[in-house]
């Protein structure tokens, strides 16, 4: 079991010497407990502390890097079982398969389709991560050519899936790109001997937890270090169960022998591959190999992945700007709030509930709520006046009246002074907006006297 901050603190010198860079030993202990610092940062630590904490601080799920450079993919290195406990760090990787048995045209077309699996969503590019080259030809030389062509054509890290002799043929040209080797079940020792000298990551395939443990130990004994486990499920329920078992063994029980990122081959006739992928994205699949290449399949999976692997510790923001609510006309009221998404959606739905068409100005406050942003100096008279002049709101409405959240009523004077707009102080609680907006006299939003 992981040690608590207090248990770690008791092992530390308790002198608050600050050599670790933290103000107190307890603060340092909290960082160790959170996996954000290591005992090696504490020079005066006792040997006992080093021994106990060195083991406790190692990540429960090792990190395996596939590929190199910008598109390198990181598998594993997770610390919690549930996203809300902290966050998930490394998104499930998608590898789209390609067969070395395809003729040149079909091969080129398949690569083109893989490259097209890239989408824009919420300001991020969503794309598949790897190409899985399968040795279906049984010809090592053909496999090596196909692997090189896939690398060349797609520019993505590779999963090389085939017998060891085929893998060996591909390595001379691709070994420096850190491909992930995936020999068939039973060839883990031979695979490990291929992977070890080049320091390459290796998929170990075996049925069941016990089988995996034996195979992983054999691969380790043969010198492989960066291991990925494939429990070879035959069905969707089995895939889900194995994925959950393996992750729980790693995080909760800290069973080092089977603590590895996981790979699941959902191609090659695996039943219901789309459904299986949609279950394994939230439930611990580190790498999913798919034969699917239809954007209609991949877009929902990539969207799901984006949602699951968003850091819940960071406030979700909406884009700053002018949001019309209802059929807003130039004489509709203008309200302002911050870009914390919860704040925005609450205020917006309360405006909608009023049935009064309006414009909502959303200020960029780093995703903070109104009072927090005010306290941090990000929602101030100056910043609001700047938004009034720079957002283009003046051109969208015929009046110069702004409704300010009641919680920051004190900003009204400054805003009026700096912007020349008239400020109406709105309710403190957004929930009072419907009543407030319905009672507003229309004259409040008449064009200014010129």
């Amino acid at each position: 079991m992981a040690l608590t901050a207090l248990e770690i603190y008791k092992l530390l010198p308790k002198t608050n010497c600050k050599e670790c860079g933290f103000p107190t030993c307890l603060a340092f202990a909290m960082q160790i407990a959170a996996g954000k610092a290591g005992i090696e940062q504490c020079p005066p630590a006792s040997d006992e502390a080093r021994e106990t904490l060195g083991a406790a601080a190692a990540p429960p799920l090792p990190k395996v890097t596939v590929g190199s450079g910008e598109r390198a993919v990181i598998l594993g290195d997770e610390v919690v079982l549930y996203r809300h406990e902290k966050t998930f760090y490394h998104p499930t990787a998608f590898a789209i398969s390609i067969s070395d048995a395809l003729d040149d045209d079909a091969f080129g077309e398949r690569i083109r389709r893989i490259r097209a699996l890239s989408f824009e969503r919420m300001g991020e590019t969503l794309a598949v991560d790897m190409v899985a080259v399968r040795c279906d030809s049984g010809n090592a030389a053909r496999f090596a050519r196909a692997a090189a062509a896939a690398k060349e054509g797609a520019g993505l890290p590779l999963l090389l899936s085939g017998p060891c002799e085929a893998l060996a043929a591909a390595l001379p040209s691709l070994g420096s790109d850190r491909p992930l080797l995936s020999p068939p079940s039973g060839e883990e020792e031979a695979g490990a001997r291929l992977a070890a000298p080049l320091g390459l990551p290796l998929v170990v395939r075996a049925k069941g937890i016990d089988g995996l443990e034996r195979a992983l130990n054999a691969a380790r004994a043969a010198g492989a270090r960066d291991l990925v486990a494939d429990p070879m499920p035959a069905s969707l329920p089995e895939a889900l169960a194995m994925s959950v078992y393996l992750r729980r063994l790693a995080i909760l029980a800290r069973v080092r022998e089977v603590a590895c990122p996981t790979a699941f081959d959902l191609g090659n006739g695996f039943p219901f591959p789309f459904a299986a992928a949609s279950l394994l994205v939230p439930k611990y699949g580190s790498l999913l190999v798919l034969d699917l290449d239809d954007p209609a399949d991949l877009f929902p999976l990539l969207t799901l992945r984006q949602n699951i692997f968003t850091d819940p510790q960071k406030p979700i923001q909406v884009e700053a700007g002018i949001y019309p609510v209802g059929n807003a006309t130039p004489s509709s009221p203008v309200l302002i709030t911050t870009n914390f998404s919860l704040t925005y959606f609450t205020v917006r739905s309360d405006i909608e509930a009023s049935r009064v068409p309006a414009r909502l100005l959303v200020a960029d406050c780093d995703g903070m709520s109104v009072l927090t942003a005010w306290a941090a100096g990000k929602f101030s008279g100056e910043s609001i006046a700047r938004i009034l002049s720079e957002s283009g709101i003046a051109g969208a409405v015929s009046h110069r009246t702004l409704i300010l959240p009641g919680m920051v009523a004190r900003l009204s004077g400054k805003i009026e002074e700096l912007s020349g707009w008239r400020v109406l102080v709105g309710p403190q609680e957004s929930s009072a907006l419907p009543t407030y907006l319905r009672r507003l006299p229309p004259a409040a939003f008449a064009p200014p006297d010129v």
Binding site: G377, R410, E429, S431
Partner: protein, 559 residues
């Protein structure tokens, strides 16, 4: 100081006597005798509240404009203007309406760790009677105590409003004020000093004639301490949110800007972080939790809420950023625990109307913290609000539709002293829930940060005047504190002042305060991912974890 007369003045019903000092008012005699007497204006002869009944020779204080003919015939005088003539014994009866029932809550504090021998740090005065002043510099209230450094006796205690209130109710507002107005921090400092001088002057009325202040200790939050030092606290509000000082070098009163204690060294309690100040260090000092092996939690429930967790091995503290709802702030009809405040509330389960008691009796002006807690707990018990704090429509319930939405009518316009109804509206409930949720979640976050379960906490200290008179059952049924068995809660009152007094009396305890502050860890809740979640859970009445609260509130208290 005036000449001692030959007679004595005896206060009833307290039964305390002090020698008459000719020329002094009855009010200053009362302060010297330790008799609590209402004087909201601070003896400035404005409020007419310090009514006493005088039997014996005394002159003045019979202002016909303030006192009626019947009052005068009954011997009622104003204590701030009436002076005994000196030669004879007189008896002064303090009627109940002149007793500041709860005001004392801002002063009275328990010092549970007071076992060190009396050994003050400073005593040298060149033959004069050495005195020490202990100060608690609060966001809303400035409190002080006068200690005789020869015998260690507590001579007087007094409190006054922090004059900075006019520049904002909470600390952030004051920093903003300081940053945005020309000479803002200078004015804040000036206001603070004027308040401090007023407190010291009031204390000195009880000082012996040859007394001289030779030592001052002050416990205050980080913002106020920075302002007192003439250093801008603005960095606290901007990344990386660090104060300029955590430890304050000793300065003389003259350097600080105090005339009343100009030659004394001023020792300011060190801060733990931007929003956990020396007041919390003084609280911990008075609670003695830093000496015990068992783990304790300490809540300081004031204008801001701070929480500390620890024992003799560790100490961690955080600011909960709870609002001032329990000090009557952020609540439309809220007020501080002054006369005229509703201090307790019961709701009749049949009529659904409120029954209340008012500090000092008479018609209510508003509701103070303990009344607000009672009211919310009672509204929930009576089924008038649901677990989320929303009003539940019920026939016959005294609801009113106000400009601030639906409200519960606590007192009608006829029943209130102001002539307008006292209503508790939906935003007021929200404000109370936010405040209580922040406190509760701060405690849960501290426990989670060090990895302790709730049941590891064996004692829960509640510091702050409010803790002296809150109804613990109401507080727990609302979920203000985590669900610990009732007997684990220990109210401390103004522990910050008690700690400051302790540090005047014993140089060892001052060292203890410095050491515990140096070893303590400041936990920043704004970077604690778990806090927001704990806060959301605590926004319900009493909490999403209803079961634990039911257990501690059941007969037997969950032991």
């Amino acid at each position: 100081m005036s000449d001692p007369g030959t007679g004595t003045i005896r206060f009833l019903p307290q039964g305390v006597s002090v020698p008459v000092a000719t020329g002094e008012t009855i009010l200053s005699h009362a302060i010297r005798a330790g008799v609590p007497l209402l004087s909201p204006c601070g003896g400035e002869k404005r409020c007419g509240k310090c009514r006493v009944i005088v039997a014996g020779e005394a002159a003045g204080g019979n202002d016909p404009g303030i006192l009626s003919g019947a009052d005068l015939r009954a011997g009622v005088r104003l204590a701030c203007r009436c002076r005994p003539s000196g030669g004879e014994d007189i008896t002064v009866t303090v009627p109940p309406e002149s007793l500041p029932a709860k005001l004392i809550a801002y002063l009275e504090g328990r010092d549970l760790a007071e076992d060190e021998p009396f050994l003050p740090l400073h005593t040298a005065t060149g033959g004069r009677n050495p005195l020490g002043v202990a100060l608690d510099l609060g966001t809303s209230t400035l409190a002080g105590a006068l200690i005789d450094l020869v015998g260690g006796r507590l001579l007087a205690r007094t409190a006054a409003d922090n004059p900075q209130m006019s520049c904002g109710e909470d600390l952030i507002s004051r920093i903003v004020y300081g940053e945005e107005s020309e000479g803002g921090f200078a004015l804040l400092r000036q206001l603070l000093l004027s308040g401090v001088e007023k407190v010291i002057a009031a204390l000195l009325r009880s000082a012996p004639a040859d007394g001289e202040i030779v030592d001052v200790t002050a416990a205050g939050n980080t913002v106020i301490t920075h302002i007192l030092y003439g250093v801008s606290p603005a960095p606290i509000r901007h990344p990386p949110y660090q104060p300029v000082f955590r430890e304050y070098p000793v300065r003389t009163g003259e350097e600080i800007g105090s005339l009343a204690a100009s030659s004394a060294p001023w020792r300011l309690f060190p801060s733990l972080g931007g929003f956990v100040g020396g007041d919390i260090v003084a609280d911990v000092l008075a609670s003695g939790m830093h000496r015990e092996e068992t783990v304790s939690l300490l809540f300081d429930v004031g204008t801001n809420g701070e929480v500390a967790l620890g024992n003799n091995e560790f100490l961690m503290a955080c600011s909960s950023s709870a609002g001032p709802a329990f000090e009557g702030g952020e609540v439309a009809c809220g007020m501080r625990a002054y006369p005229g405040a509703i201090e307790s509330v019961r709701i009749d389960p049949d009529t659904l109307a409120a029954e209340w008691t008012v500090i000092g009796g008479g018609k209510p002006l508003g509701i103070c913290g303990s009344g607000i807690l009672d009211l919310c707990a009672e509204m929930f018990r009576a089924g008038l609000i649901d677990r989320a704090g929303q009003f539940v429509p019920r026939t016959g319930a005294p609801f009113a539709e106000t400009a601030r939405g639906r409200a519960y009518l606590v007192a009608s316009a006829q029943q209130s002293a102001t002539g307008s109804a006292i209503c508790f509206a939906a935003p007021d409930i929200k404000s109370v829930l936010r405040t209580k949720a922040a406190l509760c979640a701060a405690a849960d976050s501290l426990l989670a940060a060090v990895g302790l379960p709730r049941n590891a906490v064996e004692r829960v200290y509640i510091a702050g005047g409010f803790g002296n008179f809150l109804d613990l059952r109401s507080a727990l049924s609302l979920g203000v504190f985590p669900p610990f068995p009732m007997e684990r809660y220990v109210p401390l009152g103004n522990a910050s002042l008690a700690g400051a007094i302790g540090a005047i009396r014993s140089r060892r305890r001052w060292k203890e305060a410095l050491a515990l502050a140096a070893a303590a860890t400041y936990h920043d809740l704004s970077s604690d991912a778990g806090f927001m979640e704990a806060f959301q859970r605590a926004l319900f009445i009493p909490h999403t974890d209803e079961e634990s609260y039911r257990t501690v509130l059941s007969p037997g208290g969950g032991r």
